[in-house]
């Protein structure tokens, strides 16, 4: 089976080895005097300029899983899967100013994680712990899902085995290498690899969207084939346009996902690693280039329909794995050497976010659990060391999730992850603007939002699954007489805010202590060059144009 794909496997392996070498070399790239500090290992020296940040954050947000799952969703459900486009348009104007404030206050105070900020702003270790745990729990399945992206490619190349171990061996090896160079180089490794990853992805997608429509008879044909497929299917929710019942879901899912994205610890890691506020603002204008890419990738789902691609069987009997359609489409339409390049793009595309996510999760553990509860007097060197080791543990956990559990479990968890990370919005995002909320009320709001969100997700069923069958909650379960659905996360975070607001008024009325705000209003505007912005150390070489690799 795999022998038919030999060229693809060779090219995939060569490119994979290339980035592995880059990952190890990255430790010396823009090398610091002292790597044994979390600012260096975990934030790349807090000194990345415009280009590096663009590649890093782009490589971080638009993950391999996105590139595989979004077209799979479009392939299966049509227009609904296109929510990823408005989602990634709305996000940047939404966070344009918010992230600048976060950058400034973090650099003044040396914050590494969002929980660090909450700790200081609301003077509440408990709230910070909740934010940290939420972040770790939401990130873990996301890392595991990157493996699902690689696995889809391996499956399409015929690299499968009879036993569990044989089937997963390539992934275990890939992740072991990833773990080793992340351990050594920290955030510098994914930053450097992102250049290769994104270049490959851009090439592959540009070729695909120009060449495939030409081969398949034009865009009119492609949309026509998709329309015909959805017309013939019995499911009422699919189609190349939205219907009256899923428009609310489409809009709330796009908006809710946008609110959630920059609450994820790995997104914040990428932002905090940038050099100044200007870099962030310029990136908010430039990052939508990836959204265009994502929109075009989404349409690969329709191309797969037009090309009559049949997805490979899934993990359990009688199911199909829609995630394999893009790899299969490439395999069917492209010469094998180019398919190899495309597969490498997806495979390497999984490594960048997996590395950043594990670093972000490790930083959360180190700063907000280890240093807060286990060892208060930890030195910067100890912090960096704990983070490095934690990043290894996190990756082993992700591999174990995929090897020993049904991948569906990770997909469910990631769905839940989006809903629970939204519950940190009042403390982290609104906290950047106002300290009006009482810390106790924020904790109560978090509990309420979490509880409601989990209950709603549990209630969602589909013909094939009884619980956790998506994020579209039917409003009729709230007693409304309508077939419309809404995104769970939005409802949960609104309830969270409501509870937090009401309790704030009550707690203030009964004069419960609010703690001391560790930040000043001036902190939110500090920029590079400010004498109190950390770290003060600047490398002169960086005054030159952006070094590229």
């Amino acid at each position: 089976m795999w022998r038919d794909h030999l060229t693809e496997i060779i090219i995939f392996t060569l490119l994979f080895l290339l980035v592995s070498v880059m990952g190890f070399v990255a430790a010396r790239w823009r090398a610091p005097r002292d790597m044994a500090h979390l600012d260096e290992w975990g934030l790349g020296g807090r000194n990345f300029g415009g280009w590096i940040t663009w590649f890093l954050v782009g490589g971080d947000l638009y993950t391999a899983y996105t590139f595989v799952a979004v077209p799979a969703l479009v392939f299966g459900a049509g227009a609904m899967g296109f929510f990823a486009v408005p989602y990634t348009i709305v996000i940047y104007p939404l966070v344009f100013l918010v992230l600048c404030r976060l950058w400034s206050v973090s650099h003044r105070h040396g914050f590494v994680t969002p929980a660090d900020f909450v700790r200081s702003r609301f003077d509440s270790p408990v709230l910070a712990l909740l934010v940290a745990i939420t972040g770790i729990v939401a990130t873990m399945p996301y890392i595991a899902l990157q493996l699902v992206g690689i696995e889809a490619v391996l499956k399409a190349m015929g690299v499968t085995g009879e036993s569990t171990l044989a089937r997963h061996l390539p992934i275990i090896v890939a992740f072991a290498i990833l773990a080793a160079y992340t351990y050594q180089s920290g955030l510098r490794a994914p930053a450097l690899i992102a250049f290769v990853k994104d270049t490959l992805i851009y090439i592959v997608i540009l070729v695909a969207v120009l060449y495939l429509p030409y081969k398949l008879g034009g865009w009119g044909e492609i949309f026509g084939a998709a329309d015909a497929k959805f017309d013939a299917s019995p499911s009422p929710g699919d189609g190349i346009l939205l219907n009256a019942n899923n428009q609310l879901q489409y809009v709330t899912l796009a908006f809710g996902s946008a609110l959630a994205l920059f609450l994820y610890p790995h997104s914040i890691t990428g932002v905090l690693a940038s050099r100044n506020r200007d870099v962030i603002k310029r990136n908010m204008s430039a990052l939508p280039a990836y959204s265009l890419l994502l929109g075009l990738i989404a349409l690969l789902g329709y191309m797969a329909i037009a090309a009559d691609v049949k997805p490979l069987p899934g993990a359990s009997e009688g199911t199909v794995d829609n995630n394999t359609i893009v790899p299969l489409l490439f395999d069917q339409q492209f010469p094998s050497w180019f398919t190899g390049v495309a597969y490498a793009a997806i495979g390497i595309g999984a490594l960048v976010p997996a590395a950043i996510m594990s670093i972000a999760a490790a930083n959360l553990f180190t700063r907000n659990i280890y240093k807060e509860y286990l060892r208060r007097d930890a030195t910067p060197a100890q912090e960096a060391n704990v983070s490095k080791i934690t990043s290894l543990v996190v990756k082993i956990g992700a591999v174990a999730c995929i090897v020993f559990l049904d991948p569906q479990f990770s997909i469910d968890l990631q769905l839940i992850g989006g809903v629970i990370i939204l519950q940190t919005l009042p403390a982290v995002a609104l906290g950047l603007y106002t300290r009006w909320f009482h810390r106790g009320a924020l904790i109560a709001g978090w509990v309420a939002g979490m509880g409601l969100g989990m209950w709603m997700l549990y209630q969602i069923s589909s013909p094939t699954r009884k619980h956790f069958a998506g994020s579209a909650f039917p409003l009729e379960k709230f007693g409304f007489d309508t077939p419309k659905t809404i995104y769970v996360g939005i409802v949960a975070v609104l309830v969270n805010l409501l509870v937090a607001a009401i309790l704030t008024l009550i707690l203030r009325a009964v004069k419960v202590r609010e703690g001391v705000d560790g930040t000043t209003s001036d902190d939110y505007f500090a920029d590079e060059g400010d004498p109190r912005v950390t770290p003060g150390e600047r490398r002169d070489a960086d005054a030159a144009p952006e070094p590229v690799a």
Binding site: P86, V90, L97, H109
Partner: protein, 85 residues
């Protein structure tokens, strides 16, 4: 340090204009346009008119990317600190 910082350090450095960038500007309100417009399905949820074979649903939403980029770029340029490097 995660611990709240005492307000003691660095009173000797009154912040100069160049090291501060107050966010307040009326131009920031423009940012609402690319947040609100892409979330109105009535504008894009239709097949026609088609563009290069793309139904309106697809080409218009892709065109909103241009709207987003233009708005953030304009706001960035208009709110840049004067006399900036």
């Amino acid at each position: 340090m995660a611990a709240p910082e005492p307000a003691t350090p660095a009173p000797e450095t009154p912040l100069t204009g160049s090291s501060r960038a107050k966010d307040k500007s009326r131009w920031n309100w423009l940012l609402f346009i690319p947040i609100v417009v892409p979330l109105i399905p009535a504008l894009f949820n239709a097949d026609g008119p088609r563009l290069f074979g793309f139904p309106r649903f697809y080409w218009l939403q892709l065109a909103y990317i241009v709207l987003g980029v233009t708005t953030t770029t304009v706001v960035y340029q208009l709110t840049k600190k004067r006399g900036d490097r």
